[in-house]
């Protein structure tokens, strides 16, 4: 699949949203049959189908068929972790300036597809979709700016009682598994951006109910100079995939933002204990509020380096 393929279904929908009464638009669509987009996974910079060959029906908020989304398997999750691990060295080693530039580029690409996202979000039942897309773009810009500032805020030079130079600085935790909230664009951006801007790579399970915007976002990511594997997006059953990621020994941290089911959260937390994953499970989320630095610091380690001083 071409990375720049235009999702015709969404375009038709955009017209639908713009022109109002569905029947008229539908009747006009019948003049030329729309070329629909196949929604697949996003792993290692590529768009594969689930290796399991499974898909599930995604409907609009009114119950109309929208698409068959890929239903990711355990194997897909493992492939995604492999891709994220492979990308970690380069991405964490990139300069913060470079990471900030790339996140800003993601914001630009998102802005340029504004209409498409407004349409997709509207279909999935998001109210005031235009404002949501604007907020998502702004959030990316906000996080992009953190890339080369967070170390100054969370690092320190430590005045030890001895002839030593001593400095603490933040470093990315590693591969982060993220269960995205059921807030298909703003929520998704709000969980991905803070994870990757500091140099982590991630595997994201998209909103199960409304997964399509996440794959469209993957198209944005794929055209933003974001190295392959930095963000990997899975669609499918959260309940099925999340425990595998929580138990995966090459995942360093877990963001359970999108897990509403208490039992599933506990299962994941217990599984995460096996290799002492850092688990982030915030209570309540107002995606329109100032995010603060909590999501940035949740996936940072502090490294302290000592060296003697002396002539």
């Amino acid at each position: 699949m071409s990375k720049t393929e235009r999702p015709s279904r969404a375009r038709a929908s955009a017209e639908l949203a713009a022109e109002g009464p569905g029947e008229r638009a539908q009747s006009r669509d019948s003049v030329r049959l729309a070329v629909r987009k196949t929604y697949k996974l996003y792993i290692g910079g590529a768009f594969p189908r689930s290796e399991s060959g499974r898909s599930y029906v995604v409907t609009s908020s009114k119950g109309d068929f929208l698409a068959n989304a890929s239903k990711a398997s355990r194997k897909d999750a493992r492939d995604a972790v492999t891709a994220a691990r492979k990308a970690f060295g380069g991405w964490s080693g990139a300069t913060p300036y470079n990471r900030g530039q790339i996140l800003y580029r993601v914001a630009e690409m998102l802005e340029s597809r504004r209409a498409q996202f407004v349409a997709e979000l509207s279909e999935s039942g998001t109210k005031k979709a235009g404002e949501v897309v604007d907020a998502a773009v702004d959030r990316l810009v906000w996080y992009a700016g953190w890339a080369d500032k967070i170390a100054a805020v969370t690092g320190s030079t430590n005045p030890v009682a001895g002839p030593y130079f001593n400095i603490s600085s933040p470093e990315p935790t590693g591969v982060v598994a993220v269960v995205a909230p059921d807030e298909p664009l703003l929520g998704l951006i709000s969980v991905i951006a803070p994870v990757i801007v500091t140099g982590n790579t991630c595997v994201v399970i998209a909103s199960e109910r409304a997964p399509l915007p996440s794959i469209t976002l993957a198209e944005v990511l794929a055209t933003s100079d974001l190295p392959a594997g930095v963000v990997n997006i899975l669609t499918g059953s959260v309940k099925e995939i999340a425990p595998w990621l929580a138990a995966h020994m090459d995942v360093n941290a877990l963001d359970l933002t999108g897990v509403g089911d208490e039992n599933l959260a506990i299962t994941c937390e217990e599984a995460a204990a096996e290799n002492l994953k850092r688990v982030f499970r915030p209570t309540g989320a107002d995606w329109s509020a100032d995010p603060g630095t909590r999501r940035l610091t949740a996936f940072l380690e502090t490294k302290t380096v000592w060296h003697p001083t002396g002539a």
Binding site: N158, V160, G162, S168, E269, T304, P308
Partner: protein, 474 residues
């Protein structure tokens, strides 16, 4: 080796009671569990009988801490600070006594308890005391709130120092604590309880419950504990992480390590040798951040090992209270058994074992300083934490290989690098996945300096500005 006349520190400065109770709500009280004996590991002499806190006793302690939390957290930070400063001062005043007590109960050389542990303990309280009325400047908003009752479980390798690392920041931030010292080293924590009384610390702010793993589990799993802080093995850390899953308790874990100490061919050799010795033989190697894997560049391996062996020949093993002793007793029979088991496995897997000529005392638990050469990354002694005076030596050719081998472990607590080339230090330090990197030094600690691990060495930081986060509701 020079002959040294014995130079024992007097143990008259300590007054050990025959039995100790629990410290709850400002009073010493009997425990309802079966009491246990704590021994001097250097002689196996019983030092005292100590109460075991049952689940019920732990509950009483948590309730006392909860009751005290209201007034303690509401007290102006400047007043809390003064209590903590008082504690710091009393520790300084009683440091000789506490050092001797620590060496008696733990087996560590008096030189270390006197010159390292106790000064750091006092400094840690002094440091965090100063934070109590400055929390609004720490970067967590104008008035960051404490968490509540902290349940803290500490290990036996640095008993009083680990207590300080746990209690000082907790109190400074306005929390109250229930702390469980290790069952083999409870005495300095109980002496600390007495210090809290001398300082007129309000009852219930600090509670000390003694006992073994069950007491610790009761504390960690108590529903009215808001914060769990644990230092100890990765295995127990895992269990704790699992048991508090879903509870919403804030957790910090400082767990095991298998630190690489990397020596490049351009390193200052004599200094590196001292650093290696300090890295692995400090505190009998009972150090989570010990430099237990020596990675030496192939071109200097022979020369370095000769120098290292020469240096090991001068280490003095014996009476922990002797001021000339370098290597004291292994803390317990169980730990000695584990060190022996892993060392035997090292030999069985094909590594070559070497120790200097070294006579071990008849009584007590002892293990000679030991080096394994020809160690492969797959050997147990290269992968598992020995927590004893056992060094595994591996070699490398390029900086990239050194980094890869150093990071080839599930742990990530600390690492060392020795080279005279500045750019290489910074490059290696940035590539090492470890929370503390000592460059051209090793095993240095300071209350202002954050300490804690990556990966399976746990999470959270202790010390410094970063150490506050663990005890604030942020």
């Amino acid at each position: 080796m020079f002959e040294y006349a014995p130079a024992p520190e007097s143990r008259d400065v300590v007054d050990i009671q025959p039995s100790y109770g629990l410290f709850i709500d400002g009073e010493f009280a009997d425990g309802t569990g079966k009491s246990f004996k704590t021994i001097n590991p250097a002689s196996e002499e019983v030092l005292a009988e100590v109460a075991t806190a049952s689940e019920e006793d732990v509950d009483r302690a948590v309730r006392a801490a909860r009751k005290a939390f209201g007034t303690w957290s509401a007290m102006p930070g400047s007043e809390r600070a003064k209590y903590i400063f008082r504690i710091a001062r009393i520790i300084q005043e009683r440091s000789r006594e506490l050092a001797v007590l620590e060496s008696l109960d733990n087996g560590k050389p008096i030189r270390e308890s006197r010159d390292v542990d106790l000064p750091l303990v006092a400094a840690h309280f002094f440091y965090y005391a100063g934070w109590a009325d400055k929390l609004g400047y720490a970067g967590y908003g104008a008035d960051p709130r404490p968490l509540g009752v902290a349940g803290q479980v500490i290990p036996w390798n640095f008993p009083l120092l680990m207590l300080a690392w746990k209690i000082a920041p907790a109190l400074a931030c306005g929390n109250t604590v229930v702390l469980k010292p290790a069952e083999t080293t409870p005495l300095t924590a109980l002496a600390f309880a007495e210090i809290c009384r001398q300082a007129d610390l309000p009852p219930g702010v600090v509670n000390i419950v003694t006992g073994a793993g069950e007491t610790g589990a009761a504390l960690v799993n108590h529903p009215d504990v808001n914060k769990v802080a644990f230092t100890g093995s990765t295995e127990v850390g895992r269990q704790i992480a699992r048991s508090v899953a879903g509870s919403g308790k804030k957790v910090t874990l400082e767990l095991g390590g298998k630190a690489a100490n990397i020596v490049f061919e351009d390193a200052a050799l004599d200094q590196a040798v001292e650093g290696i010795v300090n890295g692995i033989f400090f505190n009998q190697g009972h150090v989570c951040c010990a430099g237990s894997r020596l990675l030496v560049q192939e071109s200097i391996a022979t020369e370095l090992l000769e120098a290292l062996k020469r240096r090991l020949g001068t280490l003095r093993l014996g009476d922990p209270l002797d001021k000339n002793t370098d290597i004291g007793a292994i803390n317990s029979a169980a730990q000695l058994a584990r060190i022996r088991e892993l060392s035997d496995a090292g030999e069985a897997e094909g590594a070559e074992r070497w120790s200097p000529a070294c006579s071990l005392p008849d009584k007590g638990f002892w293990f000679p300083p030991t080096i394994f050469t020809g160690v492969a990354q797959s050997h147990r002694i290269a992968r598992e934490e020995v927590f004893g005076p056992v060094l595994s030596v591996l070699t490398f050719r390029t900086p990239a290989e050194a980094v890869e081998k150093a990071n080839n472990t599930p742990f990530g607590l600390s690492a060392g690098v020795w080279t005279e080339k500045g750019s290489r230090i910074l490059w290696v330090a940035s590539k090492l996945r470890a929370g503390v990197v000592w460059a051209n030094t090793f095993n240095k600690f300071d209350p202002t300096s954050p300490f804690g691990g990556y990966k399976e060495s746990g999470y959270g930081r202790e010390g410094g500005l970063h150490g506050l986060e663990a005890y604030l509701d942020v």
